[in-house]
């Protein structure tokens, strides 16, 4: 299979300095990305997932040339991002920072024509391509309205249009559906699938596991600056064969309770999340036992004077794979 993006032995180390009265008293090396290797094949949708601070953003920035690697190399369509940045950038259309990456005081059309010019299109080409993209994204007569009047979904569409304007073989989408209502997110996902159908390569980051599961051909999970898993969503899920998951909503979940469950035989991971809207806690428990463990968990909850609001025995999802590998929820 032909490679669209090659990431080879990529490292990015930052030096953090502790200062006292302008004097550096301590220097510490922080490995944001530590020997990351992966290839993205032409025509696939490749997901890069990781909790905050895992090295995902640094990796993306190095792929787009915004960040200089400490060592290693990135090739986009065979062009070295570091040595030939202009040629490499011609091959990538990007959505970073979502709706903030476009000009709100310009119309959707003006935005796309502007970025078209920066990608070297002449006036006529920029106008033609803008027209085609506006039609495809379904602006329905709003293409000449100021972006500031648009909903978040529409603004995000303009940002996506900006990524499509160069007609580049690789499209990088960083959190493209963040903050969108379900219908707008669904529409955008369909557009992403259309991009794939055209034979273009998509590199996607998202906080929505279902989205990654639905869209991606392969997924890389990054944590602590390293790729800890890379496979198709199906294979990642099947790697959880022996592991079962229980999700319990509780009125409260003390550290003592979490610790007690963790100590139980056959419990592999316990993740506690607080849900702001319902003011409740969710415990996700991964275990290798049959269902006999459920009673033990219920007993432990009663002893810790918490109330069970809901309990589900669930099939391991991609989110469970993520939790199992990183010990964190994706939203952390």
């Amino acid at each position: 299979m032909e490679k669209a993006v090659e990431v080879k032995e990529l490292k990015k180390y930052f030096m953090s300095k502790k200062k006292k009265f302008f004097r550096t008293i301590e220097k510490k090396e922080f490995k944001a990305v530590d020997d990351v290797n992966f290839d993205i094949y032409k025509g696939e949708i490749f997901g890069l997932l990781g909790p905050n601070g895992a090295g995902k953003t640094s990796t993306i920035k190095m792929i787009t040339g915004l960040l200089k690697p400490t060592s290693g190399e990135v090739l986009v369509m065979g062009k070295d991002v570091e040595k030939k940045p202009m040629e490499a950038l011609k091959n990538i259309g990007t959505v970073l920072a979502g709706d903030r990456s476009v000009y709100w005081k310009l119309t959707a059309r003006e935005n796309l024509e502007y970025f078209g010019s920066l990608y070297g299109l002449n006036k006529k080409e920029a106008a033609q391509r803008t027209d085609a993209i506006l039609k495809r994204l379904g602006f329905n007569g709003k293409e000449d309205e100021l972006v500031e009047k648009f909903s978040t979904g529409m603004k995000q569409k303009v940002a996506l249009g900006k990524a499509l304007i160069p007609n580049a073989p690789v499209v990088l989408l960083d959190e493209p559906t963040l903050g969108l209502d379900p219908q707008s997110a669904l529409n955008l996902r369909e557009i992403i699938l259309d991009i794939k159908k055209e034979g273009r390569t998509v590199l996607l980051t998202t906080h929505y596991m279902e989205e990654a599961d639905f869209l991606c051909d392969r997924i890389a999970i990054i944590d602590g600056g390293k790729i800890i898993a890379l496979d198709t969503p199906e294979k990642l899920k099947s790697s959880m064969n022996d592991i079962k998951a229980i999700k319990i909503d509780l009125s409260m979940a003390s550290d003592k309770l979490v610790e007690a469950i963790k100590q139980m035989d056959s419990v592999e991971k316990v993740i506690k999340e607080y849900k702001e809207e319902s003011r409740s806690y969710t415990l996700t428990i991964h275990h290798t036992d049959g269902n006999t463990i459920i009673q033990k968990i219920i007993d432990s909850i009663s002893q810790n004077k918490s109330q069970i609001l809901n309990i589900n025995v669930i099939e391991p999802s991609l989110e469970d794979v993520f939790i199992h590998l990183t010990g964190k929820s994706l939203r952390e």
């Binding site: 200089k68 990456s101 000009y103 502007y114 970025f115 070297g120």
Partner: protein, 274 residues
Amino acid sequence: MRRLRTITAVVKKDAIQMVRYPTWIIQIIIWPLIFPLMYILSALGFAGPSSAGVETFKMAAGTGSFKGFIVVGTMAWMWVNTTMWGFGTYLREEQMRGTLEANWLCPIKKFDLLIGGAVVAMFQAIIISAVSVLEYRFVYGIHFTGNPLLWILMFLIMIPGVYGLGILFASLVLWAKQANAAVNVVRGTMMILCGITFPITIMPSFMQSLAKLIPFTYGISATRQIMVSGGTLSMVSKDIYMCLLEGIILVILGRIAFKYTENKVKNLGSLERF
């Protein structure tokens, strides 16, 4: 051709946005009127009831038209000021808006973004200068001397210095993520050293030496000689050479600083941080 297309696109985009934020029109009409007024009124007060101080001023400045001296100084300064900060504030605005990264990701020379941003600022400065000439002629009753083409030439010779210092300032913005403090310090210092409202000969000698390191000191001096004192091109040739020479040195320093800062920002990945 490609670079010209980038610059044209930035100019068009910024011009559209400028028109959609129309408060600058008020600034263009009101600012030239207000800016020199404070200095003119101070001068009137210091000259005394019989304007006896004007003679002393004439000896130091070479002209008795203190109003003309002040308005030409402030006008030249407004030209420098509007364009020069255009570079840094352009980057800062893009950074705050969140669009700087989107531009940086395009296959373009990043320096061309600055040029495009400054062209719009220069367009604003041209309008301010034109409005200023009309307002000073008809509101303050100033009689300008010399050929209007020479006036334009005087403003043009200051462009290299404006670009040089502007790029240095833009590099600082990219590096320090802060524009206001630097603007205030540099603006205040230069307003004094360039002698926009007084002859620099009244400053202590060390300040005069510092003033000679700034191209605008020569540019403003040449503009005054042409527009107020009726000087000819040959009379101001030394000022013109010095203004251009120092301006070109600043452009070279600015390019080096911008390249260095661009690399630093790339190493830290701090482009969008503010």
